[in-house]
Symmetry: C2
């Protein structure tokens, strides 16, 4: 089996926590998120993504993109604007800590 | 209980398939997506979102945003470019058909 450097890096990254974050603090900060994304990160609206179990780095990247304007959404662009880096990392830690399982259709 | 018109619309929309889509066709079309997003829409890479169980309308909106350039990603912007509307709707139907459950931490 030949591993490309990019794949090795990905494997290492997956095994190592990216940064010191606080899922408990994130849970408190996520109370406002529950209005759209649900109390356990499972949204009920058809236009709203589930956040439960999403990789923390993906969530943090998206929140930073909303904050910077690189990604746009009428609600999220406003909500993300005042977030500090620690808020973003805590929120990402909280939602990624929610375990999900997927069941394919029969 | 007083329902605002917007809420009624949302409830109706949730109960009614938005359009004729084909999750079975989407499953076939999604084979390439599995490289990053996993065979059942649960990604393994830290930068890649899980797609399993996401609302079809959310997924279709994001794919159209990648196709138009409104949302940017080094892989998705390329992958989404040639997709037809039917491809997008089928892919969204497939990934949204995967049931997920979320388990909060103790």
């Amino acid at each position: 089996m030949i591993l490309r450097p990019g794949l090795v890096w990905l494997a290492l990254a997956a095994a190592t926590p990216a940064q010191a974050t606080d899922a408990v603090a994130g849970r408190q900060k996520a109370l406002a998120c529950a209005v759209c994304h649900g109390p356990t990160g499972v949204a009920v609206a058809m236009d709203t993504p589930h956040l439960a179990g999403q990789p923390a780095r993906y969530l943090a990247t998206q929140l930073r993109a909303y904050r910077s304007g690189a990604r746009q959404h009428e609600v999220m662009s406003v909500v993300a604007k005042p977030l500090k880096d620690a808020d973003i990392d805590d929120l990402a830690a909280w939602f990624s800590s929610l375990q999900i399982s997927a069941q394919p259709p029969p």
